[in-house]
Structure formats: structure tokens, C-alpha cells
């Protein structure tokens, strides 16, 4: 069906694909990543705890994560639109099973961005990646040459400083403060929650 009154040619279709690809390249740093709330969450209009409340979301709500600012993330929720939520309340991925394949898709964005193609064909298989194991480390044949080669990557203090300044990083005096010991209360709360889950 022609809604716009002209026939989409093959060239036209390719042009659209390229445009979409370019959009992915241009916006990938703010591109969407799926997430799911791990608790009841208050969606706010701005990244502050006293900003206007947009709506209250129940736990296990699927969201789209757009970007982060400090401890807040901007998310998109179907039916409610966009808003800000605390970072720690939104787990990545789309299932409570913590399946990596659904958010490993982010790294697929790096790959699709570099080829200019949108919509990476599929998710990286979660089976088949062989992780490093104990025996890989303790049984390794040492490579002192590789250690020497690290000298070739070294940055001088001056280079490091210039690299920081060029990105607007400003050195700060920050005191190291011993962590306070408020944690115990929080821990107890969490244990109770876990028990409840087990029962249901």
C-alpha cells in the first residue's frame, strides 16, 4: 500500500537502510538497552529524588534504558513514556533469570555501529563462550615477552594529564572517608525479601 503516493524502489529501500544505520551510528551512545525493574520504582521527571513523580512502576516492569547521569538512569516505559529512575533499581536484560543474551546485545551495537548496519542479526550465543578457568591461570605457560611488550603501550604522566584535560576531566581533592557501618539494617531487610520469594 502506498501511503505517500510514490513507489519505493530498491534504491530507495537501500537509502532507508543506510539512513537507519547512520542513525544507529549517530545515536548508539544513547541507544536503548533493555532493562527490568528489580523493585517497585518511582519514575520521576528529572534525576532528583524530589522531582515530579511521573508514575509508580511495579517490580518486574520491562523498560528501555536510554542513558545514565550519576546514580540515575533515563528510561522509557511503554504507556508512560520517559522518566528517571534510580540506577540500582533497574537490572539489565529482560528476565529475572539474569540472562546475559538479552543485554549482551549492547556489545552488538558496537559491532553494528562499526559496520554501519542496523539491527545486528542475532544475539551472541551464551553457550560456547569458554570463560577463563582456574587451570587456565595456574597452568599457563608464562609469557615474559608479552610483559615486556606492555612498555610499548605505556603513557607518560604528561600524556595522561593531557588526555584527561582534553575530555574536560578536572582533578579534584577528595578525601577518603571510612565507610560508615549502617549496612546491617539493609542486609536484614534483604534477607527477609529473599525468604518471601522462596516461599512463593
Amino acid at each position: 500500500m502506498n501511503h505517500s503516493g510514490h513507489n519505493p524502489t530498491a534504491a530507495g529501500k537501500v537509502a532507508v537502510l543506510i539512513a537507519v544505520g547512520a542513525l544507529v551510528v549517530a545515536t548508539h551512545s544513547h541507544a536503548a538497552q533493555t532493562g527490568i525493574t528489580r523493585d517497585a520504582v518511582e519514575l520521576r521527571a528529572a534525576p532528583y529524588s524530589d522531582a515530579n513523580l511521573v508514575t509508580s512502576l511495579p517490580t518486574q516492569t520491562k523498560v528501555e534504558i536510554l542513558r545514565r547521569r550519576g546514580g540515575w538512569i533515563k528510561i522509557n516505559v511503554e504507556a508512560y513514556g520517559q522518566g528517571w529512575a534510580p540506577l540500582h533499581k533497574v537490572r539489565l536484560g529482560d528476565s529475572a533469570q539474569r540472562n546475559r543474551s538479552s543485554f549482551w546485545g549492547l556489545s552488538m551495537l558496537w559491532r553494528s555501529a562499526s559496520t554501519g548496519r542496523s539491527g545486528a542479526s542475532g544475539l551472541v550465543a551464551t553457550t560456547g563462550i569458554r570463560g577463563m578457568r582456574d587451570e587456565d591461570i595456574t597452568g599457563a605457560v608464562p609469557d615474559p615477552q608479552a610483559v615486556k611488550s606492555l612498555d610499548g603501550f605505556q603513557a607518560s604522566n604528561v600524556e595522561a594529564q593531557a588526555h584527561a584535560m582534553s575530555a574536560g576531566l578536572e582533578q579534584q581533592r577528595v578525601e577518603y572517608v571510612e565507610p560508615s557501618k549502617k549496612k546491617k539494617k539493609k542486609k536484614r531487610k534483604k534477607k527477609k525479601k529473599k525468604k518471601k520469594k522462596g516461599k512463593s
Partner: protein, 302 residues
Amino acid sequence: MAAALALSVGWSVAGRAQFDIGRLIKAATPVSQKAEIKMGKGIAANLLGAAPPVADQALQGYINKIGTWLALQTEKPDLPWRFAILDTDSVNAFAVPGGYVFVTRGMLLLMRDESELAGTLAHEISHVVERHALKTMRKGNWAGVAGDALNAVAEGKGGQEFDKLINVGTEIYSRGLDKKDEFAADVRGAVIAARGGYDPYGLVAMLQSFASINPQDDAVVLMFKTHPDPEERMDRLLAYVDENLQKYGAQPNNAERFAQVMRTHMAQYKPVARAARRTEGDGTPDDEKSEAIKTIAPIFSQ
């Protein structure tokens, strides 16, 4: 002649101390920086034998500029700091005595901005600055490795003993550090990142990513075994950052620069070709081991 005699007497005394009264004097002598660096070189050689550095000068240069900048924010800016991305899909990071800090490519690919990378590097940097690995080496089964014997060995007075030390030091990476030291490195890492001008919530975001991964996933099995639960780490760190570093949350995360570096890297990445380097292999050829690489490669060649 007299000197040689003195040396040999000294060595046998040190050897006895190591085996007989190690426990009593383990706390007496601190490890010298020279010994620490020499040991670190040996341990790093083992880790790089397991996973070589990614062959990408620009990427490695980027990591070193950031890492060095962060190291300048600590009390030990003058260690011979060396940073590297390791060519493995595993998600892991290593802090080696003497200033070697390694992050796997698998972990790098989870990151979404430079402040996550900075937080991760800062966590590892603080392990080195606080000498957590050396502390762990002196505990439990390794209590017999006394400080002065360790120094004597590391500073060149005993070849076989040195190799043993390196093995002990390497084993730490398959067992993990004290839980308390991991929590401490999270907090100190956030402080270091803030000093470097970064948004300290980057490390919180990184931990949230870890907490989102299935613990059975082979890529994270080793990291989860050697570190506390990531959700607990995240909750603790968040409480600290909210309480002490909240205003630094407005500092940059440099998502654009990070994205640029990653795009450039991905466009030219080829896994490092390596012969089977393990002394005990399971016989599986390398190319069967990473479905991820098989899935990615066709996309690149199109």
C-alpha cells in the same frame, strides 16, 4: 671468600626461617617495592600466558592514559604502572603487585562509558596501592612465606624459591582476595575516580551490569567465584557514594570518547592468534571455544 661464606650462611638462615618460624616473623618485615615489582613481573607473565594483550595499539594506549591518570590520584604515582586489555571473552580484571592492571576484553564490551572503565581501573589500582594481593599471600596456607625470606628470594638470592613465590602469587587469581578487601577496593576506587574528575557512579553501573548476568554463564564463573556477590557490592558501594561522593555524580562520563574508541577498535579487531599455551589443555581447539567470535566475524566480513 668471606663474603661468599656470609651469603651462604645468610641464605640458609633465611631458608630455615621460612619453613620453621615463618608464622612468627611473617608480619615483621614489609615487602620491599623492588621485591614487589619483581614478583609482579613474574605473576603478570603467567596471566598474559593465559590471555595475551589485545593487539590494538590505540586501544591499549587509551587504557594506559586513563589508568595512568587515575594512578596519579593515589599515594603511589611512581610505581611502574602498566595497563592492558586482555584478549579473552571472559569477564574479569586483575591487579598484580608492582602496578600491572589487566581488564579483559569481555569486560570492556560490557561497558557503556568511560566512567565505568575508570571505576573498574580505579578499583584494581587500589588493590595494588593497598597491597591486597601481598596481604593474601601471607595468610592461611601461605603463612610460612615470611616477609624477610620473601624479600631475600625476590631480590635475587634464590631461583627455585622465587618460582615458588610466583606460583603462590598467581594462585591468588583463581582463589580471590579477602571479601573485605574487595568492598574496600570498590569504595577506594570510587574515590580515585572522583579525584580524576570522573562520575564515581560509573563503578556502581558496572556492578549493576555484573549483577545482571547469569552466574552460570561461563564468562563470569571465575570472577563470581573470586569476588563477593555483585548485587551486595553494588548496594554497599551505592550507599557509600550517595553518602560521600554524591555531588561528583555530575562529573563527566565521557560516553562519546569511549564510544569513538570502541567503534575504532571493533572495526579492526582480530583475535590474537595463539598456539595452545596451556601446559594442561582439554584438547579443544581454540576456535571451538568461542561461539561469540564465530558469530561476530561474519558480520565484520560483510
